[in-house]
């Protein structure tokens, strides 16, 4: 599969979807058609019994990096070093959650816990940390201890979950198919299966050494009330 991070449609997400909005698309059309090429549409039409009669989950908020007005690099969350990946993921997650939930520490709807899953879909994962680890090993140098704590993609998701008190599942995948379509499938499955009411879906990959910037997109998907 192509190593490109996101499809051309991702650009559209930055121009007209910067504000919080609620969509009511048909099942699996939760923003996928705006992100990806027509392959995402194939996911909608795949004949699974799960889709038959399924009530649509909705996109409560979305965000991207970069968006118009973004300059420089996304801010690194405290405790992370050496790689732009944690900054990319944390920034787009925070941006999306602010649009969907308000402020960190704010009350959840109904006063209960936020059973929000955090799902990261990344084809290549944190290449920056991988490089830093390899450099330390190959150079016979002391490994910086902070690299241990960020050596798996869960770490930055834990940062997001702690900040926003999200108690749903934490999932990281490298997708076999179209990242957005697969992420939406995972989100729908988590909600349908019952471990989550909402899903923060993060699609992120660092630039593949082709001169383009790191890119990420986030969706806050919610079970219909």
């Amino acid at each position: 599969m192509s190593p490109t991070t996101h499809r051309a449609g991702a650009d559209r997400s930055t121009t007209d979807r910067a504000e919080t909005e609620t969509d009511r698309p048909t099942p699996h059309r939760t923003g996928a058609e705006h992100l990806t090429d027509h392959r995402a549409g194939a996911a909608v039409h795949s004949p699974t019994t799960r889709q038959a009669g399924a009530t649509a989950n909705t996109v409560r908020a979305r965000a991207a990096w970069p968006e118009p007005g973004d300059t420089g690099a996304p801010a690194m969350p405290a405790g992370f070093i050496a790689s732009t990946f944690p900054a990319l993921v944390a920034t787009v997650a925070d941006r999306c959650l602010r649009r969907g939930y308000g402020e960190p520490g704010g009350p959840a709807a109904g006063g209960g816990e936020r059973r929000t899953a955090v799902v990261l879909v990344s084809e290549r994962g944190d290449q920056g940390t991988l490089d830093a680890v390899a450099a330390a090993v190959d150079g016979g140098r002391r490994m910086q201890p902070l690299l241990f704590f960020q050596s798996v993609p869960n770490a930055v998701l834990g940062w997001v979950a702690a900040r926003w008190e999200l108690v749903g599942p934490v999932v990281c995948v490298s997708p076999g198919g179209d990242p957005a379509a697969e992420g939406l499938e995972l989100a729908d499955l988590l909600i349908e299966d019952g471990d989550a009411d909402d899903v923060l879906l993060l699609l992120a990959d660092q630039a593949a050494g082709d001169g383009r910037p790191d890119r990420a997109t986030a969706f806050l998907i919610t079970r219909p009330s």
Binding site: V152, S174, D193
Partner: protein, 380 residues
């Protein structure tokens, strides 16, 4: 959450494993039931500059892609899958990016993503209905199992092969050593006084999951049932578990609820039990919160005390151990035990052979980022 049709209950029809205990699931069960640890000095790379020096390793330098193919092949053969049935099955692979990818030019790294490795494995084993890789660290394998089970239960897949692999490598050893996570005494002592931390281990496993109806239709052997599963987060810290084990407790409750079972129905717990001070204590609190009075009665052990922490494959390898426990009627021993820790007051299996015939067993895993999973396995 609607009750599933009985035919949609996920069942396990084939499995295989490779660990430092040797090749195959049988030798893994034997060593776990006997409480015989497989730890020894690391021979695969130079550890002279590290604090720690032990691991649970197979001899030599096995190649992960080849071992994954062999184990997956064995599991599919054990499940008596035809070529056509394999072609209709999807593959979920738990693993991490091969560190060798970091030494490739950027343009070539697309060939060595975890998803690319999953595609390669799927092609080698004739699994053609799709593939995905799970990279959620120490819950990657168990998360893949939960997703497979959910897909089967909701009717979106009839059969899913889940595979997972980790072989002790210098990069992860250096990372864990730098984080002071490895036990200098070279032993995993879950829930024990004097526990010093983790020991890494080789682990490769594969499991065939399918709907009960599909297994019946083709007369497949049912080794165990996946009665319930739960996934939840601690929402606490980048790497430390919540001290009250809140995410673990929630995952256990979700698994029990999904299965329509109560704590009293659980006959054995295969704990996450990494042998670190904080994690074992948090897990104890979480178990007490989820199981109530049953928490101090149900036999508990962490088979990591025998095969080590196998990272991304741990959830799947430990599921294999748990299935073996139900079938063989002998509980894994919590090896390396030195004495009671007041923060870990559980009913530990400290000596074998411990014969029991649990109808349900719980397999628990946790990871950085507060990720927690609970798999409730039912006897066939």
């Amino acid at each position: 959450m609607a009750d599933p049709a009985p035919g949609l209950e996920p069942v396990i029809t084939g499995l295989s494993a490779l660990s430092a205990c040797g090749r195959g699931a049988e030798v893994l069960y034997e060593r776990a039931a006997a409480g015989e640890p497989a730890f020894g000095p690391v021979t695969r790379f130079d550890v002279s500059r590290f604090r720690a020096g032990a691991a649970a390793q197979l001899p030599g330098n096995p190649v992960l892609a080849d071992e994954l193919a062999a184990v997956t092949e064995e599991a599919c053969a054990a499940a008596r899958l035809s070529a056509g049935q394999r072609a209709d099955s999807r593959l979920l692979l738990a693993g991490h990016t091969d560190p060798a990818a970091a030494r490739l030019p950027a343009a070539d790294r697309a060939r060595r993503t975890p998803a690319a490795d999953a595609r390669t494995l799927a092609e080698r084993c004739g699994l053609r209905a799709g593939h995905r890789a799970y990279t959620t660290a120490c819950v990657a394998g168990s998360t893949a199992v939960a997703d497979a089970a959910a897909a089967i239960r909701t009717g979106s897949a009839e059969r899913v092969v889940v595979a997972a692999g980790y072989l002790v490598d210098e990069e992860h050893f250096a990372l864990f050593d730098a984080g002071r996570a490895l036990a200098p005494d070279g032993r995993v002592r879950p829930f024990s006084a004097g526990r010093q931390g983790m020991v890494l281990g080789d682990g490769v496993a594969a499991v065939v999951l399918e709907s009960a109806a599909a297994a019946r239709r083709r007369g497949a052997p049912v080794l165990a049932r996946l009665a319930g599963w739960g996934r939840a987060g601690d929402a606490h810290h980048v790497s430390q578990p919540h001290p009250q084990g809140t995410g673990l407790a929630r995952a256990v409750r979700n698994a029990l609820h999904r299965a329509g079972r109560r704590p009293e129905d659980i006959g054995y717990v295969n704990a996450h039990g990494t042998g670190t001070a904080a994690s074992d204590a948090a897990e104890t609190v979480g178990l007490r919160a989820a199981l109530g009075d049953r928490a101090v009665l149900v036999p508990v052990s962490s088979s990591k005390s025998v095969h080590g922490h196998t990272l991304e494959s741990s959830g799947l390898l430990e599921l294999v151990v748990t299935v073996g426990t139900l079938r063989a009627g002998r509980l894994p021993v919590n090896a390396g035990y030195l004495g009671a820790d007041e923060r870990c007051g559980l009913n530990l299996v400290t000596a074998g052979p411990h014969r029991a015939a649990p109808r349900y067993a719980l397999s628990l895993n946790a990871a950085f980022g507060g990720a927690n999973t609970a798999l409730l396995v039912g006897a066939a």
